[in-house]
Symmetry: C2
Subunit: 498 residues, 2 copies
């Protein structure tokens, strides 16, 4: 048995190395690779993904996993959980023929390239055939994985064990019922502050300094976390030793980058505090996308858009920022960054209308995967839903259906994580407030106790626990979306004096 475990770990180690190389190739492509190199990258992806496929479905690995699971009560908990995870991954991968697996990796790379060009040139037709290919692969794979379930449910389950359309339909119906009236009231009331100072020119080198300061306040260890610059911010990690957030800077929209840094910083905090015992294990990453988004959106919105935090950070912003900020009060700053307005771009949306952006994507991808919506009809459907839910007219596809990278990367079923994550965060806050003086700490810029609380209840576990187990660890109860609804209603009632 000891020998089996040794060989099993060695195999995992090998898979980890391939994953690492893959991840770095990806990060490089997103951040610095010259544009003309994508064909070559595609060739390398094809070779390495074949190797990865072989490693994942290898008979040796299967043997180790089988033996470990047959003796699951005799092995340590980490090894057991690793075997369980690998078993699932193996079965999932095995169901896809290798040629299709490799062809899919290549199609993904092509789609990503096409999307970048299509977005810049507002040319959905250029992207459409690639998206269609990815949708078809995804529908096919979902069928391989579980032919008895609706394909979209199969995908949701991958991002969040046990999540179904039924649950999400209920969740989003509740949000629509409770929050649409608030959105309407806010629109009716109109602006409560002149927020033009948010569009004052803020030089990029100084915005970079502000980012460094934000990372410092968030207690992020820069020895293990860098900031890259990209068009579409994301966070990636190769182990807790190497976490990379990215951001974008616009001279006349410093808050956009400020909140992207805090958002991605939330993802980074999670990864940086995974337990050392699973550091290089396949369990050594976030448990699910929703749990991950609960952290990024917790820091971005619940902390980052709170008045105590803004009062604390404002002197730093003034120090680096333009003169226009000199006389802005913390309260006005708070009102400005919480301005709510139905809009076009998800990543720039306020907390209140954000879920509606997600809902639109959820409904569209549900139909794409069900086969009831054709890719060619997607822009029209997108524009119709934006009009229906948010009352806005979409002027072009660049600001519409082409705005997000997710579908170009083959991620269908990911978007709901953002709304779910936001809701998880609001529920966690309740318990945290009981345990530690959250707002006193935030007012002093002392975020460490908050990070410690989250580490103890969530971060350290990595994938050792399932998402629903983590929710219970953190919230001492199963998920309940009413906390989120209450949080938003209270906040916007206060901000807008409704």
């Amino acid at each position: 048995m000891e020998e089996t475990i040794r060989k099993f770990k060695e195999h995992l180690n090998k898979m980890q190395a391939y994953g690492h190389a893959f991840g770095i190739l990806n990060y490089d492509a997103e951040t610095v690779m010259p544009k003309g190199a994508s064909e070559h990258l595609g060739m390398t992806y094809a070779v390495l993904s074949e190797e990865m496929y072989k490693l994942t479905v290898s008979p040796e690995l299967k043997g180790y996993v089988k033996e470990i699971l047959e003796h699951r009560d005799e092995v340590d908990y980490i090894t057991r959980r690793e075997a369980e995870e690998l078993n699932e991954e193996m079965q999932r991968t095995e169901k896809i023929p290798m040629e299709e697996y490799v062809a899919y990796q290549v199609a993904q790379n092509d789609a990503s390239n096409a999307w970048h060009t299509a977005k810049v040139t507002n040319d959905f037709a250029l992207f459409a055939p690639h998206l269609e290919k990815l949708v078809n692969y995804t529908r096919k794979f979902a069928g391989y994985w579980d032919p008895d379930k609706a394909p979209y449910d199969v995908l949701l389950d991958q991002y969040e064990k046990g999540l179904t359309m039924e649950t999400l339909d209920g969740f989003f119906a509740l949000l629509r019922k409770e929050l649409l009236p608030v959105v309407e009231a806010v629109v009716k009331k109109g602006p409560v502050v002149d927020d033009s100072f948010l569009r004052a020119r803020f030089s990029l080198p100084k915005q970079r300094k502000l980012s460094d300061r934000l990372m410092e306040v968030m207690t992020i260890d820069r020895n293990h976390c860098t900031i890259g610059e990209v068009e579409h911010p994301f966070t990636t990690n190769f182990s807790k030793d190497d976490v990379r957030i990215t951001t974008h800077y616009h001279e006349k929209a410093f808050a956009s980058s400020m909140y992207s840094v805090i958002h991605e910083g939330g993802h980074a905090l999670y990864e940086l505090h995974i337990g050392d015992d699973i550091k290089y294990s396949p369990l050594g990453g976030g448990a699910s996308m929703s749990i991950h988004e609960s952290q990024s959106r917790f820091f971005e919105n619940i902390i980052g858009r709170s008045e105590p935090f803004l009062a604390y950070i404002l002197p730093d912003i003034r120090r680096f920022g333009p003169r226009a900020l000199k006389d802005v009060s913390a309260h006005d700053f708070y009102l400005a960054v919480n301005k709510s307005e139905p809009s076009l771009i998800r990543t720039e949306a306020d907390e209140l209308t954000y879920s509606f952006h997600i809902m639109i994507r959820y409904e569209l991808e549900k139909q794409l995967i069900a086969g009831t919506l054709q890719v060619k009809d997607l822009p029209e459907a997108w524009n119709r839903l934006y009009k229906e839910y948010l009352g806005v007219d979409v002027p072009n596809d660049t600001m519409g259906v082409l705005q997000d990278s997710h579908w170009s990367g083959g991620s269908f079923g990911y978007f709901p994580s953002y709304a779910l994550g936001s809701a998880y965060g609001a529920q966690m806050l309740k318990v945290m407030e009981r345990d530690i003086p959250v707002w006193e700490l935030v007012a002093k810029g002392e975020l460490k106790p908050i990070v410690n609380w989250l580490t103890e209840r969530i971060y350290q576990y990595g994938c050792l626990l399932k998402p629903n187990e983590l929710i219970v660890k953190a919230c001492e109860a199963p998920f309940d979306p009413h906390y989120y609804v209450d949080y938003l209603k209270n906040k916007y009632t206060e901000v807008y004096g409704l």
Copy 2:
């Protein structure tokens, strides 16, 4: 036979993919990886280098190569040359036991990390044990490769087929004999221009713009070539599709970055113009380090430090640069960037004294590899030679023996390439001047015909031809160092009015 060739190419393709992944991991580590991630990177290197080793010495590959070489007259020239190259590489790799091969990769990674820290903290003792390890491995490997030859000759041969200490001893003796008197005359004469404008503050964003302009003048296709920022500039490439130069910026030394961009740009031009037929082949890179350095140093010095080029580029420099440059004449600029002065730092050295920096490293690594100099005695030996050849006192190891990264990466036998390359360039110039109006073109900023000439005679061939064959292609005669000596004597006689 066709089937064998197909399988052979498939195998090469796989090796290419691993090489690509390795290269990107390396580039990432040099440019953006968080410092705290090196342990994890070491683990990944260990796994991938084992795979790479296995691919290189695989019995299948051996079979294909054997069959192809047995029918070498029946196969196309590219396939034949690929088989020859692989055969050599296979034999070289095979002679090293796999455990040592992998351990060496890890030792290299460790040494590189230690060197970075040692340089910053001026702590040679921290680096010494790592360097010793690398020296020992290198001596051992050289013994495996050819036990009958002096180990350092074995290493030289790897960088430049057929190169020996005997040749280099003669080459450097000639340089000493012919150039030391010039150095002495220049020192005696003293400065001929006030070059303080080179130390005027030049903002980094504007230096970045100057870099872009230099790349443009050099006709470098940015769609296939990026500029990264690092402490120690280098160029790397993964195929002709993806070439990356790097530079460093110092606010008060813009010429340093300017010449590093031109130097690395010369490397890039070579890689970008490899023939399309060997684009993704193992032959699709520069033929040797000396040939590579001949290109980087040709553009940096022969072109980049010429008066016609400086007169052409000066308006751009003025456009981006500080006021101190407003009244500088092209001739004064020319005198300033050609100022000769015995100094401490190789990469900042002028053309005339440069070879002496190389000579010092050559003599030291010759002794290290012969075992007649111990690592612990290296700093003292370094300082002694700097005093002897250049008359300068080395104040600390950071500015002395720790200044270059080469030894920390296990490169012994590389340094002579710089001096040889410089000498090749001077010889090529003679033939080029006969064929095209080099200086008229340079004066108009039209470098394309020069790049075309070099592409036709050198670049396109990649590794299809051996270095000595390329020299004959380019120079229509074997290598002759007298062109270099004459070039330097003429140039410095003119600059210093000797």
